[in-house]
């Protein structure tokens, strides 16, 4: 690499020079993430389009009740916390999830930083914290999903199709892909699809992190002379965090 500065323009075509001064793997990871960002943008555009063309609740937020006729206020949907049954804690649990994911992103940066210093112990330590953070987030999501599917104590009355039969004034608990107690069918369908797709990204990120953790712990990268794999998987992990920032805004805040 020390010869890069002295390479003449002619010899650039002969190879040996890195485009954008980034290695092949890192560059391809960036372009993969760009394409993945397109996928998530497509999902978020669909969400926002359906939401903004659906009837909204414009009355007093305190008098809000769930109905299949209009889009729910997110604070009223996501207000449960494990162990606090019946207590209204709007957005507290999702705040915890956001905190966990941001913290695991920070520990990932620290792992990459330790890799730059060839500090094997540091990489192993911070990778382990990152994996723990990933598992914590996935566990939170599993709980959130099961709560979302099971539903609250009070049913929502609506007209729905159950097993192909039209039923009027049906008591709806929880959510499935056909109908849900919180709002129009699209609300739960989009929730499952977008948070599920993100959760699957988190899951594959955790798998990658575990592989990197073992490779670092067994000294593979030390023998290789650099910790670039930590950096590349780190890029993916930060991307997962980045997508969550957007999902958090669009699903839980707006």
């Amino acid at each position: 690499m020390a010869t890069t500065a002295t390479i003449s323009k002619k010899s650039l075509w002969g190879g040996g020079a890195e485009p954008f001064k980034a290695s092949y793997g890192k560059l391809m990871m960036w372009f993969f993430l760009l394409s993945d960002a397109f996928t998530f943008s497509g999902l978020l555009i669909t969400y926002a389009f359906l939401r903004w063309s659906a009837p909204q609740y414009s009355g007093d937020p305190h008098a809000f009740t769930f109905s299949t006729e209009y889009w729910p206020i997110p604070e009223k949907v996501y207000e449960a916390f494990p162990g606090f049954h019946g207590v209204e804690l709007p957005l507290v649990f999702v705040g915890l999830m956001t905190f966990i994911l941001i913290m695991s992103s920070v520990t990932m940066v620290l792992a990459v930083e330790a890799g730059h210093r060839m500090d094997k112990k540091g990489v192993v330590k911070w990778m382990l914290w990152t994996i723990i953070g990933g598992f914590a987030f996935l566990s939170c999501q599993a709980w959130e999903w099961s709560h979302f599917i099971t539903g609250t104590d009070t049913a929502t009355i609506g007209d729905v199709v159950v097993n192909g039969i039209w039923k009027e004034n049906y008591e709806i608990f929880g959510a499935n892909l056909n109908f849900n107690q919180y709002g129009p069918p699209a609300f739960a369908a989009l929730f499952f699809f977008i948070t599920g797709f993100h959760g699957f990204h988190v899951f594959s990120g955790v798998v990658l992190n575990v592989i990197i953790f073992f490779n670092a712990a067994t000294g593979l990268y030390e023998r290789r002379g650099h910790y670039e794999m930590v950096e590349k998987v780190g890029l993916y992990w930060h991307f997962v965090d980045l997508v969550w920032v957007f999902v958090f805004t669009f699903f839980y805040l707006i």
Binding site: F38, S41, L44, A48, Q56, S67, V109, D119
Partner: protein, 126 residues
């Protein structure tokens, strides 16, 4: 490639660099706290939505620029990532705000005011 290096030199920790990482984390936490503040004190509306999306883009900037290190890469790489995303953001604004609203109007969908009364069909033609 995989030759054994027996004595690996561990470079000592640069305290300023570590503090820089934590500073970004604190900024992200503070912005999230501000978002919560708006969520609980401000009434839902166009302005609040714009504030939320604005703060989200600020958070995204810090994650991409610092955590993903894009801010320290070559200009060409920065633009090849940022420019496509700028077009996507334009598409989001165009589809959501203009298309979604136009479709809603064209279908004659009206918002529910909510007076505590039982909800009847909001849209008859639906």
């Amino acid at each position: 490639m995989e030759q054994a290096t027996t004595n690996v030199q561990v470079i000592p920790v640069d305290k300023a660099k570590i503090w820089g990482i934590w500073k970004v984390a604190i900024i992200l936490a503070v912005i999230t706290a501000i978002e919560y503040l708006f969520a609980f004190t401000m009434e839902a509306g166009m302005l609040r939505t714009v504030i939320f999306i604005g703060l989200t883009i600020v958070k995204a900037f810090f994650i991409v620029s610092e955590f993903m290190h894009l801010g320290h890469e070559v200009k060409g790489l920065i633009y090849s990532i940022i420019l496509p995303m700028m077009f996507i953001i334009w598409l989001i604004v165009a589809l959501v705000n203009l298309e979604g609203g136009a479709i809603k109007e064209a279908r004659g969908i009206v918002d529910y005011e909510g007076n505590g009364a039982a909800v009847e069909h909001v849209d008859e033609g639906h």
